[in-house]
């Protein structure tokens, strides 16, 4: 148990020590998106009745930050440790693979939540924010952070070089988050793209998170919630199998 807590603490400290890059920078990026998109699109995009575009954008940006940063945390920590060789320090001790998984996963969730909260507080400077069901949104943020944290663990284990990880980030994470309805309601899309969006698990996370703000969503939570939980469990299972086998970590 102490082994797990130490690893978790170390992973949190690792990003906290460089919070300028790991918290402040993504927060500023999200706020820039808010200013640019709200300026450019607020008169062109109609979202939910009774919900202004800026208000609509806020939860999308918050959740996008949670997801991207959770992924970044576990994946970058693992690839750095692998490349610099200091991964041996966590491979030598009697830390079980389940503890290993949970420590990296929870640290990723914490990073996601810290950045998400910073973005939320930042947006409050620009626009009033009202959250109808904060606990529901929090649950979605934790689940979403967990899912991307797990995906980050997989990416970190699989990648052998930084550019492989960058490819993962640029060709999978970025398109999936940008095309997940952060900036629009998928009902404004042509039917073909609407159908495609339904295969994007990140869409369900953003949608559910936003439901917590407005009580309105693109698809029913009775569909969205199981999808999110299912994806989280599936990715976690893959992580555990990889770690148990020592895939690319123990040769």
């Amino acid at each position: 148990m102490i082994g797990f807590l130490t690893l978790f603490n170390k992973e949190v400290l690792r990003f906290w020590r460089v919070s300028f890059q790991t918290v402040l920078a993504p927060m500023i990026t999200a706020l820039l998106y808010l200013m640019i998109f709200s300026h450019a699109l607020s008169h062109h995009v109609s979202v939910y009745p009774g919900v202004g575009y800026i208000a609509f954008l806020v939860p999308g940006l918050v959740m996008m930050s949670v997801l991207q940063n959770a992924f970044a945390n576990s994946s970058s920590s693992l690839i750095q440790s692998k490349i610099t060789g200091n991964i041996v320090f966590v491979l030598l001790p009697p830390i079980s693979y389940v503890q290993f998984f949970l420590a990296y996963l929870l640290a990723a969730v914490v990073r996601g939540l810290v950045v998400g909260a910073s973005v939320l507080i930042g947006t409050m400077l620009f626009t009033p924010v009202h959250i109808a069901m904060p606990l529901l949104s929090l649950a979605y943020a934790i689940l979403g952070g967990g899912m991307l944290g797990a995906l980050g663990i997989i990416a970190g284990i699989w990648s052998e070089k930084f550019d492989q990880l960058a490819a993962f980030q640029n060709f999978l994470i970025m398109p999936l988050t940008f095309l997940s309805g952060v900036f629009y309601s998928i009902h404004s899309l042509p039917p073909f793209w609407l159908d495609i969006s339904r295969f994007n698990p990140i869409f369900y996370m953003i949608d559910g998170f936003r439901y917590g703000f407005f009580g309105q969503s693109d698809v029913s939570l009775s569909v969205g919630f199981p999808v999110v939980v299912g994806c989280f469990l599936a990715l976690s299972a893959i992580c555990l199998i990889l770690l148990q086998r020592g895939y690319k970590l123990r040769y």
Partner: protein, 301 residues
Amino acid sequence: MKNVPAISVERISKRFGGLQALKNVSLTIEQGEFFALLGANGAGKTTLISILAGLARADTGEARIMGHCVQHDYRAARRHLGVVPQELAYDPFFTVRETLRIQSGYFGLRRNDDWIDEILTRLELLSKADSNMRSLSGGMKRRVLVAQALVHKPPVIILDEPTAGVDVALRQSLWQFIREINQTGHTIVLTTHYLEEAQHLCRRIAMLKLGELVALDDTASLLKAAGDLELHIAVNPDHLPPELLSRAKSLGNARYCLALASADELEQVLCVLRTAGVSLEDVSLHRPDLEDVFVQMMERT
């Protein structure tokens, strides 16, 4: 628990693609031993250590640390083992003390500062305790690696070239420290390319060659088997008495080499020379050292 070997390796083989890194290696190291694992670059030392540490998996065979299988009972095996890895690695986010506290935590130890302070003192790192790992010199980083392997006071300690890049004074104080640890009952296994270190420190030695165990014996027996004591002399005049000439090897320039069965024989040789009126210009005794043994072993096919 008392009589279980510190390390047991049974018919371990490991292949990397087309390369057989370890071939059917078996060896047992008892508790309390000071043991050297020697071999040329690429012989398989680090691979064997990695298997013991659970960093690599053997294709066949079984390895145990204090009786715990490194595969099936990996947590117990790792708790009993401290490894100083060959590759210099460090986490640039932390100071030396933080690094050691974190490493203690990984082994389930929460308040370990007294021992950490002692290790830091013995390894002459105390003045660097609060420096970031990044700012340390290479030799200091290696000492931190040694410290990290010791935080949990493991009964079995494996050091993979711990003195590479460490200066002379520290090498000696490091070995002094390790020797004391050994005297309190900890088993020590080391690899090094400084063979005089191994000869000096280790009671027993294994040699690997291209993944195969080619020697496994007491240091003393290996040295004895490597050949006799040799007496090198330069004489004046260059006229060795016949009873000596018959068994001497000429090295040219009035220099000769005589094999002695024991140190006792020296007296007799000197006596013969004195009687023959031959004086000695120079004399030296050469005892085969571990380097000679090593070269012999590696040349043998």
